[in-house]
């Protein structure tokens, strides 16, 4: 169904309309000195509450959400976002609390902070967490700052380089640069795993650490992780774990026991908090006992029955005005308490089962570059039969026509026609079977009527976009649109 609604909120504006009800107090009016005042009012829309509600309801219907349909987006872990999380995280006893209230009036929130970090520490095999980082990339930034602070404290000032495999997410090298490191990129093996020889070649007393995603972005577990950790540690570096793919390991293994010193965890992936169209997420950063005092300020500790803020002795410093995305980590807390020790450990195995089930069911028609069991996600390198010229992009767009979100495409960069599929544990066999059937149908169409696939999507509210035009003639706000 193509929705025809295409108005912007500004198009609805009629002078004099309002969408709120507030009775002003009878107080003397005050004004700023003229030269400190703004000259003219911001041109905001003038609309009624109902205008706003209907507008954004219509706008929302132009979106695909997790509740709309299957979202097999690799490395993004698009789980169901439970309703109980929403209800309980938004209780007024959490949402109506000022961040600078005295500690005796925020014991419940501090307890949630503390217990969440304790559970994350247990699940990942580390000593302590800070929930302050606002997102995964922010957690990476915190982790890299900790690496730097650690070496500086030891007066080991030559360590200016971070090793990042070429299969890593773009945030890894970017975070390293932003935290003042030089990035040494090493070529991966064909399966995206670390090439031990390449690693040995770059290890030196200038290496501060190695960033690794495990399982990697091709869905492959680093089987040599212990050797890698020994090599990096032996050279004096630290090991950073990008928790983007932690879901695979729930119930099976802990990064801390593999030799990782620092991790970040994306609560909006592994711990079921909503993606929100691109945030707010939450990216707690965790460390070994040796690194606890470097955590961002403040941390929450328990003293007797009381929870209290504490400034870590060698803290990397403040990473935000307050204490991270509280409303997000409360949701993760509710999720952890819902699954508990009985169910949390089932998540990894079932997520891995789902991924392998899709992989095995489609590998006769899609090119499977890596054999053997995958972890929670896997990569197809486009169609097996590429004779009609149908590319991964085309398949992704055709899936939209059938009511599925596309997989992650053209990532990891090591496979030219990469199509990364991650079903997560929440999808039923029926959903997977339907998806498999549609994937086969698209593969069949790619041969029998390739033009339909190459010009897809056909049934979405807009079709393929001219992205070049958007860059060449940037229209970035309503006023630009009017003066176009």
């Amino acid at each position: 169904m193509r929705i025809l609604y295409d108005k912007l909120i500004f198009d609805l504006s009629k002078k004099g309309r309002i969408g709120y009800q507030y009775k002003p107090k009878n107080l003397a009016s005050v004004e700023l000195p003229q030269h400190l005042m703004r000259a003219k009012k911001a041109e905001l829309p003038e609309v009624t509450e109902f205008d706003v509600v209907r507008h954004y309801t219509n706008v929302s219907q132009k979106n695909f959400g997790v509740e709309t349909g299957f979202y097999p987006l690799g490395s993004c872990t698009m789980k169901y976002n439970p309703k109980i999380n929403e209800e309980l995280a938004t209780l007024s006893g959490f949402s109506q609390i000022h961040p600078l209230q005295p500690e005796e009036t925020i014991q419940g929130l501090l307890q949630i902070y503390y217990e969440t970090q304790e559970m994350l520490a247990e699940v990942s095999g580390l000593k302590a967490y800070s929930l302050n980082p606002f997102a995964g990339a922010h957690g990476e930034l915190a982790g890299l700052m900790i690496i730097k602070a650690y070496h500086e404290k030891r007066n080991d000032l030559k360590r200016t380089k971070i090793i990042v495999p070429d299969s890593a997410h773009g945030t890894n090298p970017a975070s390293a640069t932003v935290s003042g490191f030089d990035v040494v990129e090493i070529k991966s093996n064909i399966d995206g795993t670390v090439n031990i020889d390449a690693l040995k070649e770059v290890l030196s007393d200038e290496i501060a650490g190695l960033m690794l995603t495990n399982p990697n972005t091709a869905g492959v577990f680093e089987k040599d992780i212990v050797e890698i950790a020994d090599l990096v540690h032996g050279a004096g570096g630290l090991l950073y774990y990008d928790g983007a793919n932690l879901n695979a390991l729930l119930g099976k293994a802990k990064p801390g026991e593999m030799g990782f010193d620092i991790t970040h965890i994306n609560l909006h992936k592994t711990f079921s908090t909503p993606h929100g169209g691109g945030g707010p997420g939450s990216g707690p950063v965790g460390v070994t006992a040796e690194l606890v005092e470097f955590l961002p300020n403040p941390m929450v500790v328990k003293e007797g029955d009381r929870y209290t803020f504490k400034k870590p002795e060698d803290t990397i410093g403040q990473l935000g005005t307050f204490y991270g995305n509280t409303s997000v980590y409360i949701r993760a807390y509710v999720y952890l308490r819902t699954l508990g020790k009985e169910h949390l450990s089932k998540v990894g195995p079932l997520a891995v089962l789902n991924a392998n089930y899709i992989k095995e069911s489609l590998k006769d028609v899609y090119e499977l570059p890596l054999q053997g069991h995958a972890m929670h996600e896997f990569v197809f390198d486009g169609l097996k039969d590429k004779s009609t010229g149908v590319k991964t992009l085309d398949i992704a767009k055709r899936l939209l026509d059938y009511g599925y979100h596309a997989p992650t495409i053209y990532f990891p960069l090591i496979f030219p026609q990469a199509m990364m599929i991650e079903p997560t544990e929440v999808e039923s066999k029926d959903t997977l079977d339907d998806f498999i059937q549609i994937m086969r149908q698209v593969a069949e169409e790619a041969i029998s009527q390739p033009d339909i696939v190459k010009t897809a999507p056909h049934h979405t509210i807009v079709r393929r976009l001219d992205e070049v035009k958007a860059v060449r003639q940037p229209i970035l706000k309503y006023k630009d649109l009017q003066t176009k």
């Binding site: 703004r38 509600v53 997790v66 987006l73 993606h275 691109g278 010009t455 079709r463 970035l476």
Partner: protein, 437 residues
Amino acid sequence: MQKYLPHTEQEIKAMLERIQASSLDDLFSAIPKSLQLKQSYQIPEAMDDLTLTNHMHKLAQKNKELIIFRGAGSYDHYTPSAVKALLSRQEFLTSYTPYQPEVAQGTLQYIFEYQSMVCELTQMVVSNASMYDGSTATAEAMFMAHSETRKDHILVSATMHPKTIEVIQTYARYRQLTVVIVPEKNGVTDLAFVKENHSDKMGLIVQNPNYYGIVEDFTGVADMIHEHRGLFIINQEGQSLALVKSAGEWGADIATGELQSLGLPMAFGGAYIGYLATKHQLVRKMPGRICGVTEDVDGRRAFVLTLQAREQHIRRAKANSNICSNQSLNALAVTIYLSLVGKEGFVELAEESMRGAHYLYNELIKTKKFTPVYEQPFFNEFVLKANFDLERFNEELLNDGILGPLVLDGQKALFAVTEKRSQKEIDQLVEKVVAFK
């Protein structure tokens, strides 16, 4: 079974057969045995829905909901109900970053509307799709200045929120940049110091209204900073943008700050939303996502993430920022809030905050227990000096369900008043001051 885990035993068996695996454990043969967990997690057992609901309500009750006269970066404002209701729509709440624009026009459209509104508020030319919070947005503005000027030192006014300064310092330190603090003079940025020291700096960052609530005068500052090609960066809180001269009007290069005031609850400090807007010339230095307009193959108007060559997933180690996820859903909250209050209401509510604050200021002076500290214009926060024990006073207020002012240097009190405070609540606070022994 568990409510989020759908497979029956039979289904698991059938799936394993398809995979040709003998068991779920079999799927993990790539993980060395020595690394595989030997025991279950040492975390609490699962709670059923009723138990968990009770547990969370109890935790919520361990936090005290108060009548708030404190700001300092988080403000207790009135938010119309439609904001929360619309935010809970799953199409907004559960969707991913709009990388598949054909099925994410909803997200892209509201980002475009958000950018349009931020540009209106700040009088700048281009806004991104949001940042984590006001302080990190300001630190990223410093990165822009560094990238643009290739200089390593930046001036930061001492009158900014101390936590914002700390965040800037954290970001600066690791990137080998140096923060030079501009001293404060009678509660405002010492512009004489700026004049003396700016020529070799990448720019100046100020906050307006500043940490003390004072509306600063930046006459001539933009020209001065531009003389040596530095950037002028103004951090300004959301509601004040209705009344206080905006970054664009001051001739600043980057407008940044916190928008929590506009539709988001205090929520113990997060999740909030930072904004960042700038001039046309700096758009390619901008961090984060930007949404633009284009057409589809049928010539239909459509929205799409654009100018992505700046971003980490393309530029990797050469990117100027590592930001990926931002605070998208909160950008929607701000957009809906600003639509509801609209052009006139945005100003009216800000005036109410300002009037309430000035009323409280005058009434407190009348008690003779407070004296002015700075004789400067202010918006909705102000500092007074108390001639009594502020900490003990605040404790007493707490017993009456009131969060009093933030205490600065022992004797100074930083008050905040928003439109949400009734006259009765303000009068009650004044009475408490009068009665305090």
